[in-house]
């Protein structure tokens, strides 16, 4: 980069938004890591009085509480189906929640069947499972492929895939992602139809033909299974209309997901980082709003 270009970057009328966005985030995250990881390696045991009380641990929305109650009500030794429809773009938002859910289910000895309707969802489901094994204290031998979980593969065709999974599940679930028969898999024991699952989850960062996959699945399926959806912030509007009609539980967006995480496994470290991220987001949104209003008032094109 030439010297002139570099000098231009600091001229507020040219690149103010870029620097205003990047620098505070850098400072905030660096301060977080310097404080929690370098200066205070045992920060996880920091007393709550030390942290800034931005919100109470118990101040969670009724929707998140209701969804957690549904999840906690999943019977021991049952089976659940998890649709993993997000890729690397949503990993930061959804993977911690998915791995926590996997840990919670594994502790109750609930068998999990993964299905992906987005190709990148295959990798995401295995990464979340690995994270659950590493961070969830369930032990590598207590959460095994075939015995505790399986992946039924990539359902191709968007709404056609939803129709296929809902109406011809036994045929769809005949083989797993590795093309092995699921008949002898313990994770698929007693599963002949969608109605044999105690609950269906979806973790998604996209819709399929404009409709959330779990909604299409409920629409095409006649079985009254409980359904809970987790989604990224950008597609929350696509899920809201179906909440309560097709969805029993709904945890959408960063705020709700962080509330879910703090309720399932309270951690001072996670809670503090969520607070910092949330304040960074508020700062950025205010900045964008003020910049837009300033441009609007000045009439700058």
């Amino acid at each position: 980069m030439s010297g002139k270009r570099m000098r231009n970057l600091f001229k507020s009328d040219i690149s103010f938004p870029e620097w205003a966005l990047v620098l505070p985030i850098m400072l905030v995250i660096l301060s977080r890591f310097i404080f929690f990881s370098v200066l205070e390696p045992d920060a996880e045991t920091v007393k709550s009085s030390r942290s800034v009380p931005l919100y109470s641990q118990d101040a969670i929305s009724g929707q998140v509480r209701h969804s957690i109650d549904i999840i906690k009500g999943i019977p021991q030794d049952s089976h659940v189906l998890i649709l993993v429809n997000y890729g690397p773009e949503a990993r930061f938002e959804l993977e911690p929640a998915l791995s926590l859910l996997i840990t919670h289910l594994a502790q109750k000895n609930v068998s999990i069947s993964f299905v992906s309707m987005a190709p990148t969802g295959i990798e995401s489901s295995f990464l979340a499972s690995e994270r659950a094994i590493e961070q969830g204290n369930i032990g590598k031998d207590n959460f095994l492929y075939n015995r505790n979980y399986t992946h039924l593969g990539y359902a191709v065709g968007d709404s056609i895939a939803s129709y296929m999974v809902a109406n011809d599940f036994s045929d769809f679930a005949e083989r797993d992602i590795f093309n092995a028969s699921t008949k002898k898999q313990l994770a698929m024991e007693k599963i002949d139809d969608l109605s044999d699952y105690s609950m269906i989850f979806e973790f998604s960062s996209r819709t399929f033909d404009g409709v959330p996959a779990i909604v299409a699945l409920s629409f095409f399926s006649s079985s009254p299974i409980k359904k809970t959806a987790f989604c990224t912030t950008d597609i929350v509007p696509a899920y809201i209309p179906f909440n309560g009609i097709y969805l029993d539980g709904f945890i959408g967006g960063y705020k709700s997901i962080s509330q879910f995480k703090n309720q399932i496994r309270p951690s001072e470290f996670e809670s503090n980082s969520d607070k910092i991220f949330r304040w960074s987001l508020i700062y950025i949104l205010v900045l964008v709003l003020v910049s837009s209003l300033t441009s609007f008032v000045r009439g700058r094109k």
């Binding site: 985030i25 890591f33 990539y154 033909d209 095409f220 991220f277």
Partner: protein
């Protein structure tokens, strides 16, 4: 930390920094990262489709004696037909649209009832029925009631807006239409806000990854 992990972490770190360099304008390294992303995505999707959809489908088709499953593959090859040719191939080249038309028709047939039932009927019913909601103690739930009234106003005014934009001369009709425009703008604004927040979370997430990787590599 094993060598494979270190290599993948360093690669992730370097590529993330290269992508962030795009904030200062498109440069050579940014273009390489962009091409890598497109190439790797295409390769990954092709591998997933081949190994987890096509091969298993045809293996099970062969095992179960269902050779008719080859037909979709043959239809798929129609996409390779030359387009817009003149002469004797002109009629046949139109068959290139057959696979897309087939998928479009099936998707429409499945989605039309879904849209009408889920988006229109159920959504509107859930929003406006009952118009006045009561709590357990018999008092009016103002939040739900206002929500229902606003839902009715928004649906009516947006429909009105579609008509009013052609009736600019009529002041009364136009004014009611402007209310619909306001609701539309609020909807578009909220969708934009959600998308913006999501991208910012992604940006902060990648930043978080960089710091974590640096700490891991230096520890």
């Amino acid at each position: 930390m094993n060598i494979l992990n270190s290599v993948s972490n360093i690669t992730a770190l370097v590529l993330t920094l290269i992508v962030f360099s795009g904030l200062f304008g498109r440069n050579f390294l940014f273009r390489i990262a962009e091409s890598l992303l497109i190439g790797i995505s295409a390769g990954y999707f092709a591998a997933v489709l081949l190994f987890s959809v096509l091969i298993p489908t045809f293996e099970s088709a062969a095992d179960d004696g269902q050779p008719w499953l080859v037909i979709p593959i043959l239809l798929g090859f129609l996409l390779f037909l030359p387009r817009n040719t003149n002469g004797p191939w002109a009629k046949i080249s139109e068959a290139v649209y057959l696979p897309s038309a087939f998928i479009l028709v099936i998707s429409f047939a499945l989605n039309a009832p879904l849209y009408f039932s889920a988006f229109l009927r159920e959504m509107v019913r859930a929003s406006i029925v009952p118009m006045v909601s009561y709590g357990a103690d018999g008092s009016i739930r103002w939040d739900l009631t206002i929500n229902a009234v606003l839902s009715v106003i928004s649906v009516v005014s947006v429909l009105w807006f579609l008509v009013a934009r052609h009736k600019i001369g009529n002041r009364a009709v136009y004014s009611v239409g402007e209310v619909g425009r306001l609701f539309l703008l609020a909807a578009i604004g909220s969708v934009f806000g959600y998308a913006l927040v999501s991208r910012l979370i992604l940006f902060i997430g990648r930043f978080n990854v960089i710091i974590q990787l640096i700490l891991q590599l230096t520890s």
